[in-house]
């Protein structure tokens, strides 16, 4: 595919790896956080970790929308579908995120998707729901490719309440804003949106302000690989604040392996030169100002929430969006009088620490044993962009030393 294949050339990647090896200072270490799950996935899938010099370490960040969605938000959606009888539409990635056991009525005659999950430790395990399991219990839950498909379902089923569970970072927000505006224009009375869109810059600030980074130094971060598709929408300018205020270099990079390699070379150069700038490797799609048409529609329909809970990060001030009062008729939270209840994660699940960059997937006792992509216990194992799913799919055999056959 054009503009994809050229950015996956193995020979060029090896050239960039040699360049990187020649430029790193052997007397120091470098650790860079890739904020986005898209980068985490690329680093695992294309073996980029193997191409890096020993003293360059990548720390996985929280930029996986499915991973940071807290249990309480999934519970809200499940309750709407099971108790209020709505037709709940959402993106495929969200379907398997484990929710709490308390959401919805108890199962009659055991868990229909039992089996594997029955091995899980007590507390989460087979009693916990997900949208997929709620669907198996009879809830009307539909997987959609686009927000526009959810509105289409509402038009086709005027007798039903149709709710779109909207999640995602700035990349996915403009289509949600568009569909709300469209529903208002057409006066589709049976359509509403459960808005859980979150913001990248506030999450980066939160990580930089966290005690692990500021005080303890347990998560050393020398710079950030900045988001690819989020930056298409918001532009490069919003990161200038981090570079300046926190003295951390940021290099915005595309999601292909050569993009990531090049961005790491650029970060190493900034560190070596003592520079803390925002640089853009993904110039073929990202400008300084971003997509203004998309920004306009988002700000016309959505506004800042004063606070929002993130899985792993806790409450983060001004880190998410809600629907403006002018569009309240299409706000599922108002329409169904929903209140938010925070639910603690499974005790042994390390997703929280992994999302903050404090722990690696292999530090978790559940990793690869009771928690696998087929039967995830924590959110990082659900999406292919999650740190645990990426390591499980592409890296778990790296952890086992190679032993010669005797």
């Amino acid at each position: 595919m054009k503009y994809v294949d050229e950015f996956r050339d193995g020979a060029v990647a090896r050239g960039l790896a040699e360049r990187l090896a020649a430029e790193v200072d052997p007397a120091r270490t470098y650790s860079f956080m890739e904020f986005c799950g898209g980068h985490t996935h690329a680093i695992s899938r294309y073996g980029i970790a193997e191409l890096l010099p020993k003293n360059v370490r990548m720390v996985h960040g929280p930029g996986c929308p499915v991973c940071v969605l807290p249990i309480g938000r999934i519970d809200q959606a499940i309750a709407l579908a099971l108790d209020r009888g709505v037709m709940l539409c959402t993106y495929g990635d969200v379907m398997r995120v484990p929710a709490s056991a308390s959401a919805g009525p108890p199962p009659a005659g055991g868990d229909p998707l039992g089996g594997r999950a029955a091995q899980a430790p007590r507390g989460l395990s087979s009693e916990s729901l997900s949208l997929m399991r709620a669907k198996a219990r009879g809830a009307d839950i539909r997987m959609v490719y686009s927000a526009a498909d959810a509105l289409k379902l509402a038009r086709e089923h005027p007798d039903r309440e149709v709710v779109f569970l909207a999640i995602g970072f700035e990349t996915t927000t403009p289509p949600t804003a568009l569909v709300i505006r469209q529903a208002a224009a057409e006066n589709v009375g049976n359509f509403s949106v459960l808005c859980n869109h979150v913001l990248t810059p506030s999450a980066i600030t939160h990580i930089l302000e966290s005690p692990e980074v500021r005080e303890y130094g347990t998560v050393p971060i020398d710079g950030f690989v900045g988001p690819a598709h989020v930056s298409i929408v918001i532009g490069a300018a919003p990161y200038e604040h981090f570079a300046e205020e926190y003295r951390k270099p940021v290099v915005i990079a595309g999601f292909e392996p050569l993009d990531v390699m090049q961005a790491i070379v650029m970060l190493v150069r900034q560190v070596n030169d003592g520079r803390t700038e925002v640089e853009n490797e993904f110039t073929r799609a990202v400008t300084r100002d971003g997509n203004l048409a998309a920004q306009q529609i988002v700000s016309a329909v959505l506004e800042l929430r004063t606070s929002f809970e993130w899985r792993g990060l806790g409450e983060v001030p001004y880190s998410a969006l809600k629907i403006r009062p002018a569009f309240a008729a299409f706000d599922a939270e108002k329409r169904f009088g929903l209140t938010y209840r925070s639910v603690a994660d499974h005790k042994q699940c390390e997703c929280g620490a992994i999302l903050r960059g404090v722990k690696k997937p292999t530090d978790c006792k559940l990793f690869g044993t009771v928690c696998t992509p087929e039967s995830p216990m924590g959110s990082c194992m659900v999406s292919s962009e999650g740190a645990c799913a990426a390591h499980y799919s592409y890296g778990r055999f790296r952890d086992i030393p190679v032993v010669a056959a005797t």
């Binding site: 595919m1 054009k2 503009y3 994809v4 050229e6 950015f7 050339d9 020979a11 060029v12 090896r14 050239g15 960039l16 040699e18 360049r19 020649a22 986005c36 799950g37 898209g38 930029g63 996986c64 929308p65 499915v66 993106y91 990635d93 490719y145 686009s146 927000a147 526009a148 498909d149 999640i167 995602g168 970072f169 990349t171 996915t172 403009p174 289509p175 568009l178 988001p227 690819a228 598709h229 989020v230 298409i232 929408v233 999601f255 050569l258 993009d259 090049q262 070379v265 490797e281 110039t283 073929r284 799609a285 990202v286 997509n291 048409a293 998309a294 529609i297 999406s383 962009e385």
Partner: protein
């Protein structure tokens, strides 16, 4: 979730819709977020919407930069 792919616009239709070619697959998407997109342009498609245009000139420059870095490395490697 943040998956987005570059696709070429083959036709523009009413109501901000367009048909794109994605490596041989034709798909109808919305171009409401990229009103400046024209037939022949490459757009980045995410959840059924074009979220931005792809700058062909910049893509060439980035690829040229990769090639240059790799060549520079090969040269210095020989010199060393």
């Amino acid at each position: 979730m943040c998956l987005a792919l570059p696709a070429r616009i083959v036709a523009l239709a009413d109501a901000d819709q367009a048909v794109v070619d994605l490596g041989g697959v034709r798909k109808s998407i919305s171009v409401a977020l990229t009103p400046e997109a024209r037939v022949g342009d490459y757009v980045i498609v995410h959840v059924g919407h074009a979220i931005g245009l792809l700058d062909a000139g910049e893509a060439e420059r980035t690829l040229a930069l990769f090639a240059e870095m790799a060549a520079q490395q090969a040269q210095e490697g020989r010199a060393a």
